[in-house]
Amino acid sequence: MSFRLRTDAEKWFSEIEGELDLKFDIYYFCLIAGFAAVRKSSLTSADKPAFVDDFPGDYKLQQNLLLGGLIDAELRDLLGRGVTVKDKPVVQKSVSRLLTAAGASTHLSGGTDGGAARMNEYASGGFDVLFERMIDKPRKLETFLRAYAKLIGELEDERAEAEAALAAV
């Protein structure tokens, strides 16, 4: 199993798809939004099967950072902000659950609990965020890029505020 995109996400991006030479761009925009908002949601059987098996084009160069981002997001989910020495077994277990050297060329493990499924969930959660927060579906890449970057910034600020509030309690 590799990268799956929600059917509604594909539709939402349809007007700028022609300006993007990789379908993975859409997945990536969703994924980074999911990471920034720390949002995951499940895909359903109504969504299409994997559209690509490996990080395509320029994204192959970003593979390790995106894998790192997934581990980071998952560890935060499990442990909260800090990681201490006693968390070592949790970290090891998470890493070996998410990654595989022997399997896919993405190094993401398969299965319902594997890294590929987890990453797809972040991309799906990220699309939910985009859909909620952007006023209209993207019409032109030149405007979308700026609006998207702005939204990521806002999401990060909100996270920082939420974490600060939590720390103050």
Partner: protein, 663 residues
Amino acid sequence: MTQVRLLGWKAAGLRCPDHEISLARTDGRPHHVSLVQMPNGTGKTTTLELLRAAFSGPGAWVDPDAVTEFAPRGSVGGRGAFEVRLLVDDRRFTIEMGLDFENRRAEFRTTWTSSVPRFQRPPSLLRVLTPEFAPFFVFDGELAHALLDPRKTRAREALEVQFQLSSLNQFRKLMDRYWDDKTRNSTTKGDKGLTQRRNKLNELSQRRDRLTVEKAELTKRLAVQKAKRDKLEAEYKAHFDQDSQAQEERKRLDEELKRASGNLGTLLANALTDARKPQNLSPRFTAGLQALRDNLDKLKLPESAAKEFFDELAHDTHCVCGEEMTDDRRGAILARRDSYLGKEDMGVLNAIKGAIKDTAGDQPSSYREAFDKQLARLRDAVRERDLVQGELDALEKRRLEGGDAELSAMKARLEELNGALAKDAARLATIDADDDSGHGEDTESLKALAKKIKRAGDLVAEATETRDIRLKTTILKKLITGAVAEATNRIAKQLVDATNARLESILTRSPLRVADVRDSVVLDGQSRGSPGQTLALGYAFLLGLFDAGQVSLPFIVDSPTGALDKNVRREIAELLPSISQQLVAFTTSSEYEQFVPVLDRAARGDVQYLTMFRLNDATQPLLAGVEPDAVRLSANGVLITSKSFFEGFDSEAYGEKPTTRAA
């Protein structure tokens, strides 16, 4: 026809008494009939088995335990030797078989043209001196019955061996094996796989053909439409430029727009490239990566020890603590192992850490700040273009508002044309794309399709080759099955005729007729033979079989009349000499009555009488009355070559307890 005669044999150091038997008359030719009388326990069965083994060659000795069964009782180690002398078309052929009881090995030496340390047979005997065929000329009384027994298929077995039909059947098995070997690594074996692959290839090829046609149409239409658009645009501009002030203004703005759009395009492409680097979008993401890397360092991950290390520990005989390895300890080690990474997984984690350091190691906000500057330039470029476009639109509007209906109509048509052109151009771009743009098998890129068609073609070729091998082996196997059946019918017919002809000359008073010999020897519906005749029939069939194989063999039979009653014995005794050219029969004294004297007459006196027994306190006195030149003594046995001794010998009286070994 190759004539094979048995001249004699010699045994030493084996389970039977040491002995040497010559079946030759003074003229060097063997007797027509040789009778070897041996009490039970003297090694009658052993001797017969040794003869069969010597005729079978090394192929009969696959089980090393079988060798030790021929060792003298109570002995350990040592060697035994058995030698058979044959006459093959008047030339001597010797088979020496050495049994090494210590190493449980049988060794052969044969002498034909020269002496060689292996089982080298005269070419004419290659098919006869085999483990499969030897039982058909070294046999017991049961064989003849078995040949006639409709529940058994001994006749078929004999036929298959003698006429290589068993080899043909073996070819079929080898073909199955060949297919298995050839297709072991094949990804598909069934016809279904081939059909699926063909369908896939067809589907892809059809799509390619459809897209190729579409591309040609698009290209053509684009050229025509573009020309139309350019013409219309020129006309529009010409019309527009009828106002000379507007003309100059439009020219300036057109150039401005071209420049601004070009600038925007470059900036947008750069921005998209940079947006694909997550560190440019999200400082928190970058900070998170750096924290992850620090934490991994803090936790000393990946470990220097890998999962594999614990596997080794767990499978040691002793625990690292020095204590013996127990299931509990092993369980504990293996449980810990699961929280460690394998060697290769450690490599992945190290690569991630390296990438964070190399490409996202600076101040987290610095990447986004640089990207924001780029986005600002993009924003400015968009504004600039929009501004120029706005001026152009305003100019146009002014001209159109001037009430020039024709110009308005031209403008509308131009826009419509441009819209259609953009749609066609986008479609053409999809078809001309370099990769599948993530659409996988559903791609509409001709280049990506070409690659997929090549791959699909390879898969079809592989499946086709696999299928062809299967079809061809199937054809061959069917052909062989048919040939075996046909050959069996032809051979059977010949054998039936030959057997009937022979029976006619043997059973002159009431000849039997054979109807079929394919599975077992089947009598003609009209015929009903006595038990003796029936036995003769079995022998006649075997002789026919030997004849068809162009070889005349001796019959070496254990207890030829077996448990038959006296009348039948008489009948067989009369028949046997006329059936075979050389008969060597192992008998006990219980078979004497109604058999030996009759046989002697039937063989016109060319009968050799041999009596063999173990030499011990009980048998010693027997030697007293025998003429000395009829006695051959060995270390543990005696052979008496006297007819009168043979007649008077009561083997039951000197037999040892019956052995349990099967005949």
